[in-house]
């Protein structure tokens, strides 16, 4: 059965996954008045539509960066070493929920969660074990940490120091995008305004002391996964970026000192051309924002450098092997869109954390695109396509309309406080669910070609003892520290948080004395309070 929205001659409108109308043919008329010099340029030049670098993948392939973490530091260290041996070129740490919320592993709220969705990190000792035998001046590490990013990053900095690596030689990324936590991912700790103060403290510290570090990965991924459309993902992410720039400038930083270290993170969903156009539009919009709105002079301030991840939400538990094909198409879209790094999901992620075999297949998918397909040989190969350019223009225009609406609310924090992006996403996700329900949007294995039985997948089994080992190690650590030093360092941190000093040096002192993540986060909770989401439904 064909969808009812299609007439016999197939001429009626189709829609993208985001509900954007898609015509059967695009012609030169769609680009009437379009000036390629203005709108496209060449890769590595304003407005960067075609790519942020002059040589793109001929110069260097994208970084293959698979997100990994489970159990204790030792468990994850083994997986990291395996992935590096398989040809992965960067590390990406997944933390468990207690770590994302700044709870120690023996906190009652952490029960059942330790090491489940990522690795458990309680103190510097765990961070040292996580990177044992991995030279931190040779790899770049991305860490998905937001509300407690300052604490986790300081642990990484001290772990590097202990390996004898200088901070100026370190490179990597902390996600550190707190705004999208309130909008979508919901792993917030502090209310938005103090969270922005921690953010600017991190950026200011990094600018001076860890100049090659990417201080934020402004993330659309979670916004999209929570159910937004492609253009909402684009608009809320870039508007979050504007908010961060404004706050850093207000904190006294110069735009060209910090903006080159901002990076972005987008979701790559099923709609192939819409996703390619989204990445192209993102680069053009950001370059213009940085030039026109913030008068950036440094060309590197204009670059929207992108990490991409294939869409977890597009995967199905039914007929899970179909997911490998979805991931391959999404990965291809990310590469055609000019991503700087890429995570490909594993086919079994709707059922749990990936097994070693499925994680390896996901990495191989990238390697096949990179080495066999020929796709990376030519930059922005879809540039100039009537369809892709038209779609890029339309996404840009709708995104700018969202900017106007959010500007009129007073900015992104104000928009979040009244629940604007949250409601937009809820509405979009419900409409998408209904479109699938009505068979207007087809998911193979769900509402077409559904089968009663599908081949089972195994799924990773997390060692039940990991949590007990983690808690035992934590108790031993607490017994063997210089207690008065820990107390003093935490008291100093509290004073700094209550005042206006940059809190990073105080966190570093706490970390060096093996204060736990929970102790540091609680200290800041006592000053900043905790965020509780209002009911926006």
């Amino acid at each position: 059965m064909r969808g009812t929205n299609e007439s016999a001659d197939g001429r009626s409108n189709k829609r993208s996954i985001s509900g954007h109308p898609i015509r059967e043919l695009y012609t030169p008329e769609d680009l009437d008045g379009f000036d390629p010099t203005q709108e496209l340029g060449v890769p590595g030049e304003f407005p960067f539509t075609r790519g942020v670098y002059r040589s793109m993948y001929r110069g260097r392939l994208w970084t293959m960066r698979q997100f990994a973490g489970f159990g204790t530091s030792e468990d994850t260290n083994k997986r990291f070493k395996y992935l590096l041996k398989q040809g992965q070129t960067g590390l990406s740490v997944a933390f468990d929920y207690p770590t994302l919320f700044g709870y120690d592993s023996d906190n009652p709220l952490a029960q059942g969660e330790v090491g489940r969705c990522g690795v458990a990190i309680d103190s510097l000792a765990d961070m040292e074990a996580l990177f044992e035998g991995i030279p931190l001046d040779k790899v770049t590490t991305s860490m998905t940490t937001n509300a407690p990013a300052a604490m986790i990053w300081c642990m990484y900095l001290v772990a590097a120091e202990k390996q004898g690596v200088r901070w100026q030689d370190l490179s990597g990324t902390i996600q550190n995008d707190v705004l999208k936590e309130y909008i979508a991912q919901k792993t917030y700790i502090y209310p938005p305004r103090p969270a922005m103060r921690i953010f600017t403290d991190i950026v200011s510290f990094a600018t001076e002391q860890v100049p090659r570090w990417n201080t934020v990965s402004i993330s659309g991924y979670h916004i999209r996964e929570a159910g937004s459309t492609a253009v909402q993902e684009l608009a809320f992410t870039l508007r979050d970026g504007i908010e961060y720039v404004e706050h850093c400038i207000r904190a006294g930083l110069k735009v060209d000192d910090f903006a080159p270290r901002f990076s972005f993170f987008f979701d790559i969903h099923n709609d192939f051309f819409e996703e390619i156009a989204k990445l192209r539009a993102a680069r053009r919009i950001w370059a213009r924002v940085m030039q026109d709105r913030f008068h950036a002079q440094n060309p590197n301030s204009l670059l929207c450098r992108i990490h991409s991840q294939t869409a977890g939400v597009s995967l199905t538990a039914q007929q899970p092997y179909n997911n490998a094909v979805r991931v391959a198409l999404q990965a291809l879209a990310a590469v055609l869109g000019g991503t700087q790094s890429l995570h490909t999901n594993s086919l079994d992620e709707t059922l749990g954390l990936p097994t070693l075999e499925s994680a390896t297949l996901a990495l191989r998918t990238q390697q096949i695109i990179a080495r066999e397909s020929g796709v990376p040989n030519t930059m922005d190969p879809l540039g100039g396509s009537y369809f892709v350019e038209k779609l890029t223009n339309e996404l840009e225009n709708t995104c700018l309309e969202y900017f106007d609406r959010i500007d009129a609310m007073g900015g992104m924090i104000e928009a979040i406080e009244i629940g604007f992006p949250q409601r937009e996403i809820q509405q979009a996700s419900y409409e998408q669910a209904k479109a699938i329900e009505r068979n207007e949007q087809i998911i193979i294995g769900i509402n077409e070609c559904a089968a009663e039985e599908s081949a089972p997948v195994n799924g990773l089994v997390i060692d039940e003892q990991a949590s007990a080992r983690q808690c035992a190690n934590l108790r031993a650590l607490r017994d063997n520290r210089n207690h008065s030093l820990v107390r003093k360092n935490l008291a100093d941190l509290k004073k700094a948080a209550a005042g206006s000093d940059n809190i990073l040096p105080f966190i570093l002192n706490c970390v060096r004395s093996y204060a736990t993540l929970g102790e540091m986060c609680d200290t800041l909770r006592s000053i900043f309070g905790e965020y509780h989401e209002p009911d926006f439904s």
Partner: protein
């Protein structure tokens, strides 16, 4: 006389913030004419059972994507029993491996709906299984 509306508590145990599924289900059940109470994020088993008691619900839908279900679901089921709420229909959804499904059914969870489950299927299930 109008039939009494089915009352459902949609609850998010565990620390994960993935509330898309829970909110979509809550709305689908509401659109199907049920009274739906959504707990919000990060509820402990105790908080969920207290809410179920206070709201006098016919059914509880649990949504979890953090992997802690084998720890939290048995606690919720025990607390429901302790509070003599054996007749409340409990169903669940989220990232739940196949190997855990039979164990969860043994402790009294009527059905597990994985990602990709049909909304109408869940609505029908609740309507036909509430006692």
């Amino acid at each position: 006389m109008e039939e009494k509306k089915i009352r459902v508590l949609v609850a998010k145990p565990g620390l994960d913030g993935h509330d898309r599924g829970a909110k979509v289900i809550a709305r689908a059940l509401r659109d199907a004419g049920m009274e739906v109470i959504y707990t919000g994020l990060r509820q402990t088993p105790e908080q969920i059972v207290i809410a179920a008691l206070q709201e006098d619900v016919d059914a509880v839908g649990l949504s979890i994507l953090s992997g802690a279900h084998m720890h939290l679901f048995p606690r919720i089921m025990n607390l429901l029993q302790e509070n003599k709420m054996n007749d409340v229909l409990v169903f669940a959804g989220g990232i739940i491996p196949d190997r855990d499904v039979s164990k969860l059914k043994e402790i009294g969870i009527s059905e597990i709906f994985p990602p990709g489950s049909s909304l109408q299927g869940i609505v029908n299930f609740v309507q036909s299984h509430v006692r």
